[in-house]
């Protein structure tokens, strides 16, 4: 049996029943990584010894017929923006190349308690700033469906590792689409939870009012399983909400009869790939076939979301990234004359071009004389974008859109024009500004064989419904069972 092809729930069931040893599972994934990593370049760091060590512990528990934790022996990949105690956490940046966190992020503590194993840390756009993973200081991750295309970003390493069966599932982070868009480009399930649903303690901060951690998985059931483990209030993150966490897996009933699916008229934009558009229409027909009802809705401020985002996110980033000063951790320039000179050179040598661009834009937007015109203006438009969703959700239970206007693009295609790169996030960015959850599910392929992503957006803290819709869709289709030929 090719264990690496299995989903989290399939592996979990085999391990819990004692039919497969966790050591065999981990070793099978390590062999797979060994075969694929040269082509895919998904990982910044691999942690095979720790993974095998924990797997042996679970194997012994299995032999003694002891009760195993729920995800015992399930191997996962973790985006390199999530702090892992004793394991380098680089954010794919020179400035954190040698940083080894002395503590675990809350999501890591929860995954460890559930018995999940970490295979390694995945590549990403530097500090999660980008939509193609090309902004990594270390390597270019390739899309498993077409090695000439980007995997999307910024969680490109996590998405590619899942799609290429190099892990059973992965964690990513999403500030403007960084889980959902690579999920769409790589043809997997990928969920950005409601802002506040998952603790951000130990997530290296990019834009604190937008960032969320979420799962990237081979099917929707797996996303439900991982969300259940990582969600919930955390006293170490006062922005994590004290809202009960339902049993998401139990909520996957397959029943969406009478559910109102909102279709926003504003998401039919110039520049939309016709193959994406027709796949989305077909997916809506599938949902109707399952008993859902189409409802036209309006999100009138959609056209302003990208502009709003690039002020809010960069302003917060410029403040969050002030901490990289070469003093307490991270890179320090080897030559400097005095303290200020050390800061300026450290940051010049440590940050890549996109990070510098965003620090500059954010600092400008917050600077004296421009604060009201740019930053405050953006905060006000954010209110309008959020109200759009509140109004739309009075008429529907979920909203469906394409995840991205196009399928995965080629390397280098958008690197010279930052604005074009930003616009590739046009359908996901509003969700972060409004704080609502969104889920990508694969809804077909282009003629050239690239995955197309359907986004299901939900009401705040109603991940249960978007998971149920996406799962029902998966049950009615077979796209999620397709695998790239590698």
């Amino acid at each position: 049996m090719e264990l690496h092809r299995l989903t989290i729930h399939e592996l979990r069931d085999l391990i819990q029943k004692g039919e497969v040893s966790p050591v065999r599972v981990v070793q099978d994934f390590l062999v797979r990584i060994g075969q694929m990593e040269d082509q895919i370049q998904a990982f910044n760091t691999l942690t095979p010894r720790t993974a095998v060590g924990f797997a042996k512990k679970f194997e012994e528990m299995q032999a003694r017929r002891e009760k195993l934790p729920p995800l015992a022996g399930v191997p996962l990949a973790i985006k390199d923006v999530i702090c892992t105690k004793g394991v380098a956490t680089t954010c794919s940046s020179r400035i954190l190349e040698n940083y080894v966190p002395p503590y675990n992020a809350t999501v890591m503590a929860r995954l460890n308690a559930a018995g999940a194993l970490m295979l390694g840390k995945t590549n990403m756009d530097e500090f999660a700033m980008g939509s193609s993973t090309e902004n990594s200081a270390f390597k270019k991750t390739r899309n498993p469906w077409n090695l000439g295309c980007v995997p999307g970003g910024s969680s490109g390493g996590s998405a590619a590792a899942v799609a290429a069966d190099m892990c059973a599932g992965a964690l990513g982070s999403d500030t403007g689409g960084s889980i959902r868009q690579p999920g769409g480009f790589c043809g997997i399930a990928a969920l950005k939870p409601t802002y506040g649903r998952v603790s951000r303690y130990g997530l290296v901060a990019f834009a604190s009012s937008l960032d969320q951690i979420g799962p990237l998985t081979k099917d929707v059931r797996d996303a439900a399983i991982l969300l259940k483990v990582i969600a919930g209030h955390d006293p170490l993150d006062s922005t994590s909400a004290n809202v009960p966490v339902p049993d998401y897996e139990a909520g996957l009933t397959g029943d969406i009869k009478g559910l109102r699916v909102g279709i926003p008229s504003e998401y039919s934009i110039p520049g939309m790939d016709p193959e994406v558009e027709s796949a989305i229409h077909e997916a809506i027909r599938v949902l109707e076939g399952l008993g859902a009802v189409q409802e036209k809705v309006s999100l009138p401020h959609t056209d302003y979301a990208v502009a709003t985002y690039y002020l809010v996110a960069t302003a917060e980033a410029s403040s969050n990234l002030e901490r990289y000063d070469g003093v307490k951790y991270g890179y320090r320039t080897p030559r400097s004359e005095h303290l200020i000179d050390m800061y300026m050179k450290t940051r010049r040598e440590g940050f890549g071009p996109e990070v510098k661009r965003r620090i500059m834009l954010g600092t400008y937007a917050l600077s004296a004389g421009y604060y009201d015109a740019y930053y405050l203006k953006a905060l006000k438009v954010r209110t309008l974008i959020r109200q759009d969703f509140t109004e739309a959700f009075k008429r529907c239970d979920v909203i469906v859109t394409p995840t991205s206007p196009t399928p995965a693009f080629k390397f280098g295609e958008k690197t010279d024009d930052p604005l074009q790169m930003y616009l590739s996030d046009i359908f996901t960015i509003s969700g972060n500004l409004a704080g609502v959850p969104g889920l990508n599910v694969n809804c077909g392929f282009t003629k050239s064989g690239l995955p197309i992503g359907l986004q299901v957006i939900g009401k705040p803290f109603d991940e249960e419904t978007i998971l149920r819709v996406a799962h029902a869709y998966e049950q009615a289709t077979s796209w999620h069972r397709e695998r790239p030929r590698l």
Binding site: S238, Y304, L339, M342, R357, S367, Y374, V381, L384
Partner: protein, 97 residues
């Protein structure tokens, strides 16, 4: 008219403690100008009656017991320091001259 001048780029870079090469200043001015030009579309909207949103969740002060709890050990906190002396982070001299 240009949205941002090269002089402003130099000023902002100083505020951000970011040294830029001449070439970077040139490129940054052009790119920021184009991005700010795009962002200008926000001015199509009248927001005089709109409250700003800084966060989507209700922000309340979170209180906890004032109790001693374990925290990072000194050695752990210093372990990633680029330069240190004894139990201190060491930095280049601050006062010129």
């Amino acid at each position: 008219m240009a949205k941002i001048t090269r002089k402003e780029v130099e000023h902002v870079a100083r505020l951000a403690r970011l040294e830029l090469t001449e070439e970077e200043k040139e490129r940054m001015t052009a790119q920021l100008d184009s991005i700010l030009g795009y962002i200008d579309k926000l001015n199509e909207l009248n927001t005089s009656q709109v409250e700003p949103t800084t966060t989507v969740i209700p922000m309340v002060s979170v209180m906890r017991e004032d109790a001693v709890r374990p925290s990072l050990k000194q050695e752990e906190a210093l372990a990633n320091a680029p330069d240190r002396q004894d139990v201190f982070f060491r930095v280049p001299r601050i006062i010129e001259g």
